[in-house]
């Protein structure tokens, strides 16, 4: 507790304390505060005044306000009157007074508050009695001193006289007002030295564990910022408003109208009117002038523009090589196998079908040609995504593949024809290839006797009957095949069930039933299985001799009929109605329907044979006038052009009547209708040509594969006597070439080789993109060639005539020389002898063996 300090001074200044006569121990109050500590104010009563003879205005007057009172008197008073005595408050002072007489002073003015006061000390008495003299003396003394010399008087040490300052100091001192309390806190003795467990405690968790002085914003210390730097920006005021108009929403409105037309009679009537005649007469002149003007010259031709070739080539123009894209080799199935045929899927990108067969040399093949091969031949499907594993493998005794749309038909090296429609084809990536069995096999007795070398679907626009006449095909899908085989026949097959003309023997039926069909084979063609007969057979005979032509390849004309739009729609809708999955189910044989025969259809086709001949013949049978039977016609034309078997007979994709034949060591191009010979026949190449194909996009380009693995690219616009380019693909014989276009920028060519590897190469821009007017240039070239052939023919004739003439002349000459006479002969002989003598003479002279006369020589010299 803080000691409280009270200023006693202030309290004392206001009033003078009057000590109550309580006890003897209370100190008498003196006029200490007024600077006279020896003055003790007293109140004397009249009685006391009489006793001590200090009656006011009698003993004590203004001139003599004091009275000296003996100490013994005061004591006697004390004894008499004890406490009543007026001197009682100052009893102590009186007792302590050293002198005998005390000075008592009458305070008339009540200077010290009471009417008398007592001076408590001798000194004071002395001072009182003698004070007026001192100041006077001092004043007088002062007047005199300045004239005298100041004498320094060092201060004399005097005893300290208390003047009351100690009281002030006492008041200022800080004293402890209260007594301090001391505490001693100690633990229990038993707990001394015991383990202590300290723990943390959050101060805020216990109530009143702490007292905090939180900061608060004191208003006295906040500064108000009266000036601030602020940036300003003016922003336009944007206000969104909307209005609504009465515009109605747009509606589709249509009007239907038809043109006004005249009826036939009106037209006739008008046509006969005179006005029309006159009009036409007037007008036709100017019209004809205009027409002729256009014929003469096209005034609007931009010569510069027509000079330029098409721009914007994709890729490097100088790049002319085939680029390797991918190559497929099957490691499981291909052992000692070669690829015989390659076909691209027309719709799915990157799917290729390849047929493989056992690699046999020529002798072995001849040896085995009549027997069934024990090793199965397969058809593999490759996809671009997987170069090692084929997608699907078709297990079959086939070695030949051809595909149109979703249908597949396979020829075999043996006698049968098998059919495998592939409705359920799904090219998934299986590690183990799927094996698919065939659906139907042709009948063994009625099929081909030897190797089938070529097989084609007939286009879906027409079909033929047993006699070879052509009819319209209503079903819209191709359902007939044509095959040619080494037994010198060409057969037409139909995959639809035929109306049986002769009742089938029941034994055969039983045999059929006993044959089990595997489960996963669709039953569409069961009717054909093992009982499939060809529709008609065409025999290629050489006439008198028993040897027949052995056809290797066919090429049919690809005339597509001009269907009227409505009929085609009908056919297609029928096909769809029949069911999308199995369009073949509802087909019936040709004789059932009454189809419209097509009269002026070209039934001729080209055949290439094993001996290297190209035959142009007709499949339509005609009545033989002698025997009355139907017989095949004789071939229209026949040419032996190639040195080996013809293995490619192919029509150009751009021209309907240009055919490419490749065989042996050379190439020939034919035009249908020109019977005199091939348009182009190349010279013998260094290596045998083993396969060939037209380019799909450029009309003058075709690819030929050689037996040493090279591919020759011929470009008829560049060179016609030799290939424009030659590129190495593989090390063995190329067995099949098939190009395919996927898009305008991507064109691939599939090349199959003898070792079973399929190479896919990309055709560069230059070889795939035709230049402008290339089609017309090539057709001009062919026309020129045709003319050349004609010219040659004519020349032949002319030469024949010339030859005849020359022979006649020669004969005439011979006759003339025979008429020479004997005399003439002798004369001639003599002349010869004389000239000989002259010659001898000259030589001898020259040699210097005979001397020459000088005169003679002189004459000669002149």
């Amino acid at each position: 507790m803080a000691p409280k300090r009270q200023k006693q001074k202030s309290s004392k200044r206001g009033k003078t304390k009057i000590t109550l006569p309580v006890s003897e121990e209370a100190e008498p109050v003196n006029m200490e505060s007024m600077g006279h500590p020896e003055i003790y104010p007293l109140v004397l009563t009249n009685k006391t005044q009489e006793i001590f003879n200090c009656r006011i205005d009698e003993d004590v007057t203004d001139e003599q306000p004091y009275k000296l009172i003996k100490k013994e008197d005061i004591f006697a008073d004390f004894e008499n009157r004890a406490a009543v005595s007026d001197f009682y408050p100052v009893k102590k002072i009186i007792q302590e007074y050293p002198g005998d007489e005390l000075l008592l002073v009458y305070d008339k003015d009540f200077k010290y508050g009471l009417n008398f006061y007592l001076i408590g000390t001798e000194e004071g008495k002395e001072n009182y009695l003698n004070p007026p003299e001192v100041p006077e003396e001092q004043e007088e003394y002062k007047e005199h001193i300045p004239e005298d010399i100041y004498i320094y008087k060092p201060p004399i040490c005097k005893p300290w006289v208390s003047l009351g300052s100690e009281k002030e100091i006492e008041e200022e001192l800080v004293k402890e007002s209260t007594k301090e309390i001391t505490y001693m806190i100690s633990r229990k003795r038993s707990e001394f030295g015991a383990p202590v467990k300290f723990s943390d405690q959050n101060a805020s968790s216990v109530k009143d564990a702490y007292i905090e002085c939180t900061a608060y914003p004191d208003k006295n210390f906040t500064l108000k910022q009266l000036e601030r730097d602020v940036g300003m920006q003016v922003v336009p005021k944007i206000k969104d408003t909307s209005t609504q108009t009465r515009w109605t929403y747009p509606k589709n409105a249509t009007t239907q109208y038809y043109p006004r037309e005249f009826s036939e009679e009106e037209k006739e009537a008008l046509g006969q009117s005179k006005t029309l005649t006159e009009f036409l007469n007037n007008v036709s002149i100017s019209v004809e002038i205009a027409l002729q003007q256009n014929e003469i010259m096209n005034t609007f031709i931009n010569d510069w523009k027509s000079l330029a070739e098409e721009e914007g080539t994709f890729g490097d123009k100088t790049d002319t090589h085939l680029k390797e894209y991918q190559s497929f080799t099957d490691l499981h199935n291909l052992t000692e196998k070669m690829i015989t045929c390659v076909s691209w899927h027309p719709i799915i990108y990157g799917l290729i079908a390849v047929s493989v067969a056992v690699r046999l040399s020529f002798e072995e093949r001849v040896h085995f040609s009549g027997k069934l091969l024990l090793q199965p031949s397969l058809i593999l499907f490759w996809s671009f995504s997987d170069p090692i594993h084929p997608q699907i493998v078709m297990w079959d005794i086939t070695a030949h593949a051809d595909r149109i749309e979703n249908i597949k038909a396979d020829g075999s090296r043996s006698k049968n024809v098998t059919l495998k429609p592939m409705f359920l084809l799904e090219p998934e990536s299986n590690k183990e290839a799927m094996y698919i069995r065939h659906c139907a096999v042709s009948s063994i007795e009625n099929g081909h006797r030897k190797v089938i070398t070529d097989i084609h679907w007939l286009p879906d626009t027409f079909e033929i009957n047993r006699l070879g006449s052509v009819f319209e095909n209503r079903s819209g899908i191709s359902c007939q095949l044509v095959t040619c085989s080494a037994d010198c026949t060409i057969c037409f097959w139909d995959i639809r069930p035929q109306k049986a003309l002769t009742p089938q023997p029941p034994t055969e039926k039983k045999k059929e039933e006993s044959i089990e069909v595997p489960f996963d084979v669709p039953s569409t063609f069961l009717h054909l299985n093992l009982s499939w007969k060809p529709l008609s057979k065409v025999r290629l005979s050489k006439g008198e001799t028993t040897l027949d032509h052995c056809p290797t390849k066919l090429s049919l004309s690809e005339d597509s009929l001009l269907y009227k739009a409505q009929d085609k729609m009908l056919a297609q809708s029928k096909a769809t109605k029949a069911g999308e999955m199995n369009p073949y189910q509802n087909l019936e044989g040709g004789l059932g329907n009454h189809l419209k025969p097509i009269d002026d259809f070209c039934t001729k086709f080209f055949v290439g044979t094993e001996e290297g001949e190209v035959i142009y013949t007709d499949w339509k049978m005609e009545r033989d006038p002698e025997t009355g039977r139907f017989m095949t016609k004789k071939p229209v034309s026949l040419y032996t052009v190639h040195d080996g078997g013809v293995h490619t007979v192919q029509r150009s994709p751009f021209y309907k009547d240009i055919i490419l034949t490749v065989g042996g060591w050379n190439v020939a191009i034919w035009k249908e209708g020109i019977m005199t010979g091939p348009l182009l026949q190349s010279s013998c190449a260094p290596k045998r040509y083993t396969s060939g194909h037209w380019s799909l996009t450029r009309p003058g380009v075709f690819y030929i594969g050689r037996e040493d693995g090279y591919i020759d690219i011929w470009d008829l616009l560049e060179k016609t006597h030799e290939p424009a380019q030659s590129q190495n693909i593989c090390i063995t014989m190329i067995t099949y070439i098939k190009p395919w276009t996927f898009s305008a920028k991507q064109q691939f060519i599939a090349i199959a080789d003898y070792y079973g590897t399929l190479h896919i190469l990309e055709i560069p821009w230059t070889l795939s993109r035709p230049s402008t007017s290339e089609v017309s240039s090539i057709s001009h070239y062919f026309e020129r060639e045709v003319k050349h052939l004609e010219y040659v023919e004519q020349r032949k004739k002319i030469r024949e005539e010339e030859k005849k003439e020359m022979e006649l002349e020669m004969e005439k000459k011979k006759v003339k020389t025979y008429q020479k006479s004997k005399e003439q002969l002798e004369a001639e002989l003599k002349m010869d002898y004389e000239s000989y003598l002259e010659l001898e003479k000259d030589i001898l002279i020259h040699l210097g063996l005979i001397k020459v006369k000088e005169t003679m020589s002189y004459m000669e010299m002149i």
Partner: protein
């Protein structure tokens, strides 16, 4: 009548002529070598164009008149010979 046919045939047999037609003053075809829908389309459009061309020429000079109208396009040329009552339209492909 024979004359009419003969003249039309002669015009049609010119080199490059694709089609010929005779149209009356209202745009209704009378004779044509093309199929119906094409004829009707040509007749309607060219009739209107001829009327417009004629009025243009006469606006500029009232004493002038339209004698022949040739429209050259990328693929072929259309020639229109107008008259008081009829219109002869010939379509020719000038360049082979």
């Amino acid at each position: 009548m024979a004359e009419v046919e003969e003249t039309l045939k002669r015009i049609q047999s010119h080199k490059g002529v694709i089609g010929t037609m005779v149209v009356n003053a209202e745009g209704i075809p009378i004779r044509t070598t093309l199929d119906n829908s094409t004829t009707v389309q040509y007749a309607g459009l060219l009739h209107q164009l001829t009327v417009k061309a004629k009025s243009t020429v006469r606006d500029i000079d009232p004493q002038n008149d339209l004698t022949f109208l040739r429209i050259r396009s990328k693929k072929h040329e259309i020639m229109v010979a107008p008259d008081k009552e009829y219109l002869l339209i010939v379509i020719q492909n000038p360049c082979e």
